[in-house]
Amino acid sequence: MNTFTAKDRIVAALKGQYADRVPVAVMFGLYAAKLAGFTTMEFFTSAEKHAESHAIACAMFPPDTITVSGDIFLEAEAFGAQVEFPEDAPPHLKTLVLENKADLAKLNIPDPKKVTRLCWYLEACERAKTGIKGIPVSGASAGPWTLAADLRGLEKLIFDTTDDPDFVHKLMRFTTEWAKVWIATVRDTGIGVGMGEAAASCSVISPKIYKTFIKPYHEELLNYFKERKLYISLHICGYIDPIMEDVLDTGVGMLSIDGPSSLKKLVEMSKGKVVIMGNVPTPLFAEGTREQMEAAVKECIDTAAKGSKYVLCSGCEIPFNSRKENISYFLEAANKYGRY
């Protein structure tokens, strides 16, 4: 008899206690649209269909928590960037708002409820919260560095860190102030919030950049929300081993890491102080065999689940060409190896 609910498992993991098994999550992302039979455009423009896609994904592959993915350029678009939505691929940026640095002075922090696309996302969050029963729902916000990179262009921003550090700090100040407004607004829909820093991976930045231009702003944001009793999680894509110590140093309470990063290192470094999510490699959801998926899940659980404070999760959003049977392999393996 299974008497534990999804919420019980998540709460237990947050408190360092034990339910029947390790809680699981899958970042469905755009793949949820595919599961629900909606087009990319429908997924990214209709709040109803966006929420329904996640509800359908949850019904097909019940997780213990779900993130309403939104789209990663949502905030950049709110500041005037043009985003293209290809038929069968994730959206990408067509224009940069801060091609010229001087244009930063012209940017203002908008009222999120007066920006169409942001309203779309807020409505999707509300709908997901009421439509998905029994599973804790979270929203997503771009981290300040990722938004800075989306506004300025990552390569330019990297050069700016050397050529014009003052500008980078000004831009980070702006995106940090915006994150305070936006995260609070998403939170007001009644769901949790995770902050995604796709562009803070060491696949693209250096430890020096993290320490100088990102860490202070992460610390500020996390503290700002802690004072308001809101505990936001942080997700960084790709490889973060060289900055792991600094990331933990920000006081982050929940950290989600991607397949290329070392779960073992994070478990050792965080010493039970941080709730960890991750880090089953996403390519396995598209191309892995049952055996490969089982082995990856088992390794994650063996590495991280012993002291609770762990949510077994795909390292990042699963690929658009994922396979249903592979998600089943993932959940089956979690059930098989995740019992406490």
Binding site: A89, L154, I158, T161, T162, S203, I205, G238, P319, N321
Partner: protein
């Protein structure tokens, strides 16, 4: 000699201004331009490449080093024409259709360039026809494709198939790379080589060039 060492140090530090000034001085002093290129600029790029491979340098340092090297190259290029330096091979390089990520591809291009390859960059979001166009023009040794997204990865296979259908596959070696790409994947789609980073890509390209020579 120590002058050239200063140039390579400037490249490693990513200091474009310093590299430009030192290169100009070296030229004015009459140091052989090929020597400035090899023992100054390229030596510096090789050093930063090694640091990168040892995870002691990261992508930003590579980008800065590449920019510093370009500052020197701009001064050397007009003088190198006619100096008899021939490329060791010709590469067409691009990020495949459906993917607009350029940083990794650009770094591979710069590193290949430093190693003596001529690089034709077809940019990002490059459809198979673009690669075919260049290869059918003749003289291409290697086709290099990049993809950062799992969604755009299959386009690498499509491009290889398109080269095959156009009867051009056997003329070239194909290498692929990008955050989501693996050696296994390269083999599964019939690519000749895979590299996990820009420095490795140079070694792989040289290796493929040798194989290509053996084919003849």
């Amino acid at each position: 000699m120590s002058e050239l060492k200063l140039i390579s140090e400037g490249v490693v530090e990513g200091d474009a201004k310093k590299v430009g000034e030192l290169t100009k001085r070296a030229i004015d002093e009459g140091i052989d331009v090929v020597k400035i290129l090899d023992d100054g600029l390229i030596a510096g790029m090789e050093m930063i490449g090694e640091l990168f491979e040892r995870k002691e340098a990261f992508v930003p340092e590579l980008l800065l080093a590449a920019r510093a090297m370009r500052a020197g190259m701009e001064l050397l290029n007009p003088l190198l024409v006619g100096s008899g330096v021939k490329p060791i091979g010709k590469v067409v390089l691009g990020t495949v259709k459906g993917d607009v990520h350029n940083i990794g591809k650009d770094l591979v291009g710069i590193m290949l360039n430093c190693a003596g390859f001529e690089v034709i960059d077809v940019g990002v979001n490059a459809p198979p026809e673009k690669f075919i166009d260049i290869v059918s023009g003749g003289g291409i040794d290697i086709v290099g494709m990049s993809a950062l997204l799992t969604t755009s990865m299959p386009m690498m296979k499509t491009t290889i198939e398109a080269l095959d259908a156009a009867g051009l596959r056997k003329q070239v070696k194909i290498m692929i790379g990008g955050a989501v790409v693996t050696q296994d994947y390269a083999e599964s789609i019939g690519a000749d080589g895979y590299a996990s980073n820009a420095a490795e890509a140079v070694n792989k390209a040289k290796e493929l060039l040798k194989l290509k020579g053996d084919d003849k």
